[in-house]
C-alpha cells in the first residue's frame, strides 16, 4: 500500500506546522502564485510513522542480516560514529558559517585529512567529493588538468583493466576521454604484454583497483606503474577495495598518483539504502596543484592554532569546487569518529581480519564443492566463486543461488561481476563478521547446492519468503510506472 492510499482529504499532521495563510501584504506577482495542489499525501503523523516503519521492515540491512556483498564492504557501522556526527553543534552548523564559528568541525576535518594521507601514502587529501564516482571524476579531471598544464593535448586515452568497476570507464568518458580496455590474465593479474602494447603517447592514465575486483592482489603493480609512468601517463587508484590493505600497504607506495577512497566502505559510514557516500581524493606530488576545493588548512603562526578554508584563490590550478559547499561533511565526521575509535592499531587489524575472514570462507566453500575462480591465489578481502558448473549440470545459475540465499536470511553476494568470470558470485565477508556467521553462510550454500540437485525448483523459483517474488524487470522498463497517478 502506498502512502497515498492511506490519505483522506483534509487529514494532516498539525503539530508540524503553524497554519499560515498568504500574508495580505505579500509581494508575489499574481501570475507567479501557485494555483494547482501540491499533490502531497494527506495523512496523520501516526500513519506516517507506521507506514515508514513497516516499509523499513521490508529491507535487508547490515543491522539485520549478514551482507557478504563483494566490492561493497558491508561492515558494521558503529552507532557511536552516528551519534557523534549528530551532536547539535555539528548538525546545525550552516555551511557558510564564518571560520570563527567553525573551528570545531574544521579541526575534525583537518585531522581526517591527515589520517587519510597516512593511510594512503599521499601528499594531499581533499575531502570534498561526495561519492566514490565523484572522487573518480575529480581524480581523472586532475589527470586531465595535469596534461593540459604540460601542454600535452595528445593524451586522449584512459586504460582500464576489463575487471574494473563500471564507474571507471563511465568516469573516463565524463572527463572527455576514450577508454581502452586491457586484458586480465588467467591468474587474475593484468596481462603485462597487453598493457605494454596499449600504452603510448596517447595514454593519459591507467585506472585500476588493487586488490582487483578478481579478489587478488596485483603482484606486478610496480612494473605496471613504471610502464605507465615511462609512457608519460599517470596512475589512478580506485579505492573501492582499500579495506583489504588498510594498515598493510599504501597505494602511494605502489606508485599511484591519485586515488579516491569510499568512506562508506573502508571507514564504515552507513550505506543508507544507496547513499550518501563520500569519496575523498588523495594525490601525490604530480597532481598536488590540482586538488579540488575546499580543503582545510591549519595556521599555527598565531597564539592558538587556526583552521581556515583553502579555496581556488589559494590553489589557483585547482579543478575547483564540485558541489555548492563542502561535500558530505556529516559523513566525513562519521569517518573521523570511526578513525578515532579504531586508531592506528585498529586500522591495521581491519585489513588483517577482513583477509582472514575471506580466506577462511573461500577455503570452506571450496571444501564444500564450490569452484573458486582463482584457487591458486590468496584471497584478499574478497573472492569469487563461479557457478558455471551448477548452471550447466543442474540448470541452477548464480542468480538462483543469490535469490535462494535471501530465503536463508543472508543477503546475496555480488552477482555477475566482474564480467570476465561467468556465473560468478563475488563474496566479501568483512572483518566485523564472526566465524559463526561465516560458517552459517557456508552451511546455507551447502544446503542450497543439495536443493539444486534434489529439488531445483526450490532454487530457481526463489525467493519464497520475501515480501515479493522475483519481479518482472522487462515490464518495469516497458510499461514505465515511475510515479503515483491516483
Amino acid at each position: 500500500m502506498l502512502i497515498y492510499d492511506l490519505g483522506a482529504k483534509g487529514r494532516t499532521a498539525p503539530a508540524q506546522y503553524e497554519q499560515t495563510d498568504l500574508p495580505e501584504n505579500h509581494e508575489i506577482p499574481t501570475q507567479c502564485l501557485r494555483k494547482s495542489p501540491l499533490g502531497l499525501p494527506e495523512v496523520s503523523e501516526l500513519q506516517v510513522v507506521r507506514h515508514f516503519t513497516n516499509l523499513s521492515k521490508k529491507n535487508f540491512s547490515i543491522d539485520g542480516e549478514f551482507y557478504p556483498l563483494g566490492s561493497c564492504t558491508m561492515k558494521y557501522n558503529p552507532r557511536g560514529a552516528h551519534v557523534a556526527a549528530s551532536i547539535p553543534g555539528f548538525l546545525n552548523r550552516h555551511p557558510l558559517a564564518p571560520e570563527i564559528f567553525s573551528q570545531g568541525v574544521m579541526s575534525c576535518l583537518y585531522e581526517l585529512q591527515e589520517y587519510l594521507k597516512d593511510v594512503t601514502g599521499m601528499r594531499t587529501v581533499s575531502l570534498t567529493p561526495m561519492a566514490g564516482a565523484q572522487g573518480e571524476f575529480a581524480g581523472v579531471a586532475m589527470i586531465r588538468a595535469y596534461h593540459e598544464k604540460n601542454n600535452d593535448p595528445g593524451r586522449t586515452e584512459i586504460l582500464i583493466p576489463i575487471a574494473a568497476h563500471g564507474t571507471n570507464p563511465a568516469t573516463a568518458v565524463m572527463c572527455g576521454y576514450t577508454v581502452r580496455e586491457v586484458a586480465v590474465g588467467r591468474d587474475g593479474d593484468v596481462d603485462i604484454e597487453a598493457l605494454r602494447a596499449a600504452v603510448g603517447p596517447q595514454t593519459a592514465g591507467l585506472m585500476m583497483t588493487n586488490p582487483s575486483t578478481c579478489g587478488v592482489f596485483e603482484r606486478k603493480i610496480q612494473e605496471i606503474a613504471s610502464l605507465v609512468h615511462d609512457a608519460g601517463g599517470l596512475l589512478y587508484y580506485d579505492g573501492a577495495n582499500l579495506n583489504a590493505i588498510l594498515g598493510k600497504v599504501k597505494p602511494g607506495d605502489m606508485g599511484f598518483d591519485v586515488l579516491h577512497m569510499n568512506l562508506h566502505k573502508t571507514f564504515a559510514t552507513p550505506h543508507g539504502g544507496g547513499g550518501p557516500g563520500s569519496g575523498p581524493v588523495g594525490v601525490g606530488p604530480r597532481l598536488e596543484p590540482f586538488v579540488p576545493t575546499p580543503i582545510v588548512g591549519l595556521d599555527t603562526s598565531g597564539e592558538a592554532p587556526r583552521y581556515f578554508w583553502k579555496t581556488k584563490n589559494d590553489i589557483p590550478d585547482s579543478i575547483g569546487n564540485l558541489s555548492a559547499f563542502m561535500g558530505n561533511t556529516g559523513i566525513l565526521l562519521r569517518a573521523y569518529a570511526y578513525a578515532r575509535l579504531l586508531g592506528n592499531e585498529g586500522m591495521n587489524r581491519v585489513g588483517e581480519y577482513a583477509t582472514l575472514n575471506a580466506n577462511y570462507m573461500a577455503k570452506r566453500l571450496a571444501e564444500a564443492g564450490f569452484k573458486l575462480a582463482y584457487p591458486e591465489r590468496r584471497a584478499t578481502h574478497e573472492f569469487i566463486i563461479s557457478m558455471s558448473r551448477e548452471a550447466k549440470d543442474l540448470g541452477v545459475n548464480a542468480m538462483d543461488f543469490a535469490k535462494r540465499l535471501l530465503d536463508y536470511g543472508y543477503h546475496a553476494p555480488t552477482t555477475y561481476f566482474p564480467l570476465l568470470i561467468p556465473e560468478c558470485l563475488l563474496i566479501e565477508p568483512t572483518e566485523t563478521e564472526s566465524r559463526e556467521e561465516i560458517d552459517g553462510f557456508v552451511e546455507a550454500m551447502k544446503s542450497i547446492l543439495a536443493e539444486a540437485k534434489a529439488t531445483p525448483e526450490l532454487v530457481t523459483g526463489a525467493p519464497f519468503t520475501m515480501p515479493v517474488k522475483r519481479l518482472d524487470d522487462v515490464k518495469a522498463a516497458r510499461d514505465l510506472d515511475l510515479a503515483y497517478k491516483g
Binding site: 502512502i3 508540524q16 506546522y17 503553524e18 509581494e27 506577482p29 507567479c32 494555483k35 494547482s36 501540491l38 499533490g39 502531497l40 499525501p41 506516517v48 516503519t53 521492515k57 529491507n59 547490515i62 539485520g64 553543534g89 550552516h94 557558510l96 558559517a97 570545531g104 589520517y115 561526495m130 573518480e136 563500471g166 572527463c175 572527455g176 590493505i245 598493510k248 600497504v249 543508507g272 544507496g274 547513499g275 550518501p276 579543478i319 569546487n321 564540485l322 558541489s323 555548492a324 563542502m326 578515532r340 575509535l341 585498529g346 591495521n348 587489524r349 580466506n359 561481476f417 572483518e431 566465524r435 515479493v468 517474488k469 524487470d473 515490464k475 514505465l480 515511475l482 510515479a483 503515483y484
Partner: protein
C-alpha cells in the same frame, strides 16, 4: 580491537582451516618492500566515551545563537519523526536496492519520493536523486545537451542570478566534455534577468537555458517569459527551484506555454539538517519524453511472478554498472538516506503544511525587510519581489557589520563581498524562514542597527 569479533581460539582455528600459521602469511603475495609499518600519523584508538566527550567539545565551539544565513542551505523545522525513522538500521545500513526482493522498503519509498517530487514540481518523472543541488545542475546541463535533438550545440545559456557556487561547480564538471556555460548579466537594479538582455542572444544556438526560482538574490524571475523565449529558440529549459518555495509559487511544469523540460534543485529544505553542507540530496525531474537521457537511479512499479505489485530499479540500461563507457553519467550512488528523510518530511507536512511553511517564510521575510530598512542607511538592494531571502545594502562594509553582529553570536547573513561584484558592494544576503519568531527578528534588527552605528550603540 574495535568491531573485530575474533577470539584467539577463533583466529587459530581459522588459520588452521586455511592452512597457514599466521595472518601475516595471508599477505605473502604482496611484494615485501611495499608493506608499510604502523601508521605513525594516526593516533591510538579511543573508547566511545572518550570519543563523544571530544566530539561534544568540538561541536560546542560551533554553536551560535541565531543564524540568518541561506544562500543555498536553509534552516527549517524538522519533525522529530523524520530522523527517528531515518535512523532505523533497516534504512540506514541497507545497501543499494539491487536485490529487489530484499529491498522493497527502500524501493517503495523512492517510488513515493519520485511521486511527491514530480507532483510538487508538476513534472512527469523524477529520478531517485543525485548528490546535491550544484552537481545536480551539472547533470541537468549534461542531460540537456544529450536530450536536445534539435540542437547540436554544446553551449548552455545560464541567467546571471543562479547561485554562483552552482555555476562554478557546473563549469568544473562540464568543461571536461567541452560544454560551455555562458552566463548572462542580471539587471543591476532589479536583481533578476532582464528580458531585454535575453534578446541579445536571439538566434544563438543553445542546447538549454537555465533559470533559478527563486534566484540567488531571493527574487522571483519572469519564468513564463523566459521559458517561452527558450522554447522559441529551440532550447530546453532547465529550472533550478527551491522546493519550499513551490508551496507558494507556480511549479516549473506550468511555466510558460509548455513548462520546463528539466528541473533540478537542492532537497535540503525538505527535512535535512544543515550539517555543514551535506549530506543533502539533489532532486532531478524531467518530461517523460527525455527520461532515457536522465542520469542516476530510477525506480519503477512492476509485478512479481504471482502478479503482485512490487518495485524495482528500472531503465538500468542508462547506468554505469550496465553500460560502462556508454552510460549517461558515472553516477552510481543516490542520496538514499536523505531521500528517506525528504519523503517522510513531505508526508508529514502535506499540502497544507508545506504551503503554511512557505507562507510563514515569506511573511517573516517581509517583517524583517520592513523593520531592517527603517535603520538609516539600510536599503533593499533590488526592487524585485522576493520569497524568503533578500539582499540588503548597508551603510558600512558588509564584513565589518557581520563581524559586529557575530560578537552577539548572530550570523546576520551571507557576505556578498565574496562575489567581487561591484553591484553588490556593502551588501548581504539575508534569509528568514518559519523558524524565526518576532523576537528573533527584533534581535536581528537591533544587532544590525548597532553594527551599522545606529542609536542603540
Amino acid at each position: 580491537m574495535p568491531f573485530v569479533p575474533h577470539t584467539h581460539q577463533d583466529e587459530q582455528a581459522m588459520l588452521a582451516a586455511v592452512g597457514v600459521d599466521s595472518i601475516e602469511s595471508l599477505f605473502d603475495e604482496i611484494p615485501p618492500e611495499l608493506k608499510s609499518g604502523i601508521l605513525d600519523q594516526t593516533p591510538p584508538g579511543v573508547s566511545e566515551m572518550a570519543l563523544l566527550r571530544l566530539m561534544n567539545e568540538r561541536a560546542a565551539q560551533d554553536e551560535v545563537r541565531l543564524s540568518f544565513l541561506g544562500a543555498g542551505a536553509y534552516e527549517h523545522h524538522i519533525p522529530s519523526a523524520v530522523w527517528n525513522i531515518v535512523g532505523r538500521g533497516e534504512f540506514m545500513t541497507a545497501y543499494t536496492p539491487y536485490q529487489a526482493e530484499a529491498s522493497q522498503g527502500t524501493l517503495q519509498l523512492i517510488y513515493e519520493f519520485q511521486s511527491m517530487i514530480t507532483r510538487l514540481t508538476a513534472m512527469e518523472v523524477a529520478n531517485a536523486s543525485v548528490y546535491e543541488g550544484a552537481s545536480a545542475l551539472a547533470e541537468g546541463v549534461l542531460m540537456a545537451v544529450r536530450a536536445n535533438r534539435k540542437s547540436k550545440s554544446r553551449r548552455v545559456l545560464c541567467v546571471g542570478t543562479v547561485n554562483p557556487a552552482y555555476i562554478s561547480a557546473t563549469r568544473n564538471i562540464v568543461d571536461n566534455q567541452g560544454i560551455v556555460l555562458d552566463v548572462l548579466d542580471y539587471g543591476t537594479g532589479s536583481g533578476k534577468t532582464e528580458l531585454e538582455a535575453l534578446k541579445e542572444y536571439e538566434g544563438a544556438d543553445y542546447a538549454a537555458v537555465v533559470v533559478a526560482y527563486p534566484n540567488f538574490f531571493g527574487g522571483i524571475e519572469d519564468v513564463d517569459a523566459i521559458t517561452n523565449w527558450a522554447k522559441e529558440q529551440g532550447s530546453l529549459l532547465i529550472g533550478v527551484v527551491n522546493p519550499t518555495a513551490l508551496g507558494l509559487l507556480k511549479p516549473p511544469g506550468e511555466w510558460g506555454n509548455e513548462g520546463a523540460d528539466i528541473v533540478i534543485g537542492e532537497g535540503q529544505p525538505l527535512g535535512i539538517p544543515l550539517a555543514s553542507g551535506g549530506p543533502y540530496l539533489g532532486f532531478m525531474c524531467c518530461k517523460q519524453s527525455i527520461v532515457r537521457q536522465m542520469p542516476g537511479r530510477i525506480i519503477g512499479q512492476t509485478i512479481d511472478l504471482d502478479g503482485k505489485p512490487g518495485f524495482a530499479l528500472t531503465l538500468q540500461a542508462r547506468e554505469q554498472h550496465i553500460r560502462r563507457a556508454k552510460a549517461t553519467s558515472n553516477i552510481c550512488t543516490n542520496q538514499g538516506l536523505l531521500v528517506t528523510a525528504a519523503t517522510i518530511y513531505m508526508s508529514l507536512l502535506g499540502d497544507k503544511g508545506l504551503m503554511s511553511v512557505a507562507n510563514k517564510c515569506h511573511q517573516n521575510t517581509l517583517k524583517l525587510i520592513n523593520q531592517a530598512t527603517r535603520i538609516p542607511g539600510v536599503f533593499r538592494r533590488f526592487n524585485t519581489p522576493v520569497f524568503h531571502e533578500v539582499v540588503l545594502k548597508l551603510p558600512l562594509p558588509s564584513a565589518q557589520v557581520l563581524n559586529t553582529m557575530a560578537k552577539e553570536k548572530i550570523l546576520g547573513g551571507y557576505d556578498l563581498a565574496a562575489l567581487e561584484d561591484p553591484a553588490l558592494e556593502d551588501c548581504i544576503l539575508v534569509n528568514v524562514t518559519e523558524t524565526k519568531t518576532d523576537e528573533d527578528i527584533a534581535l536581528f534588527v537591533s544587532a544590525l542597527e548597532t553594527a551599522c552605528g545606529g542609536s542603540s550603540c
